[in-house]
């Protein structure tokens, strides 16, 4: 799970061009959007596409669950792990 969290952090930094941030700077439990990293709705869409591509998971852009999955790195890792089981 820790490896998965690390690769999600790397993916976030790469696909959102967060040049000044290192994977270690991202708290797995912290909120990704608005607070915490300060990402916005365009980042959410961008990250959704990158995650679909890298982990071959399906995301429904409108669902309430998707919003929960995207709340932190930890919840994203939990979701991706559950899809590949």
């Amino acid at each position: 799970m820790e490896n998965l969290e690390h690769s999600i952090k790397t993916l976030i930094i790469e696909c959102l061009n967060l040049e000044e941030i290192q994977p270690e700077d991202i708290d797995s439990n912290a909120s990704l959007f608005v607070e915490g990293l300060g990402l916005d709705s365009i980042d959410a869409l961008e990250l959704g596409i990158a995650i679909k591509k890298k982990f071959q998971v399906t995301l429904n852009a409108d669902s309430r669950e998707t919003r929960d999955h995207f709340s932190s790195v930890k919840s994203l890792a939990r979701f991706i792990a559950s899809q590949s089981d």
């Binding site: 061009n17 040049e19 365009i42």
Partner: protein
């Protein structure tokens, strides 16, 4: 032939990849003055436009800004179309800044400046019509400051011969104030159409930096004439 209003040139900032100009550099500007969370999404073209624009205004507010680009975000648009042709999903961040007035919108966000702006694309005469727009605005609003930003990158190779132009950004801050060198603009239809060999903004920059009092640039439609007066008191 009619003279238009005199434009006081308060400031001029430029970058180009054209080695014949003193502003030339191989390293494109990185828009360091733009906050990182905004800068990370900028195209290379928007970085050029914002770098010269921010350097030119130095934090001053302007009442009107004119963004002039012949090709606009064509590199980004072409990239998106190629992705689409391959059946890939498009990058929302790239899509959100793939329009001609991306740089104009970003400039107003970065400076928190809600003033009016316009975007111009007019073929080889793009920069010239930007000057006409600036002159017209200052004629009606003589107390205001007007920023003109001209910027372009060569279009992608798929567009063929038009790709030979260098990348550049030229920003000029105009007003009606005394104490600055002033620019007088004249234009007339070209009787003998000439294909311009470089972007008009770079021909102007060469003239303006040379200190000459008169310059001329024919395009295939118009002969642009510029006169410079040094009004320092």
């Amino acid at each position: 032939m009619k003279n238009l209003v005199n434009l006081s040139v308060e400031s001029c900032s430029a970058w180009t990849s054209d080695p014949r100009l003193s502003e030339a550099s191989d390293t494109p500007p990185d828009a360091a003055g733009v906050p990182p969370m905004i800068r990370r999404r900028l195209s290379s073209l928007s970085k050029i436009a914002l770098s010269v624009a921010l350097e030119c205004v130095e934090g001053q507010s302007v009442e009107y800004s004119i963004f002039c680009s012949r090709h606009g975000e064509l590199q980004r648009t072409t990239g998106l179309l190629q992705e689409l042709a391959q059946g890939n999903e498009l990058s929302p961040a790239a899509f959100s800044q793939s329009v001609h007035n991306s740089a104009a919108g970003l400039f107003s966000i970065v400076l928190d400046c809600p003033s009016t702006s316009t975007s111009i694309s007019a073929g080889a005469d793009t920069f010239g019509y930007g000057l006409v727009e600036a002159a017209a605005h200052l004629m009606l609003n003589p107390g205001e400051k007007v920023l003109l930003v001209a910027f372009d990158e060569p279009p992608p190779d798929i567009f063929g011969t038009a790709s030979r132009d260098p990348a550049y950004g030229v920003a000029l801050l105009f007003s009606g104030a005394d104490g600055f060198p002033s620019l007088q603009l004249r234009l007339q239809p070209a009787a003998d159409p000439t294909e311009a060999t470089e972007p008009l903004a770079l021909t102007f920059l060469r003239f303006w930096r040379s200190g000459s009092t008169a310059g001329k640039a024919p395009t295939n439609r118009i002969i642009w004439e510029w006169k410079r007066h040094d009004n320092r008191h």
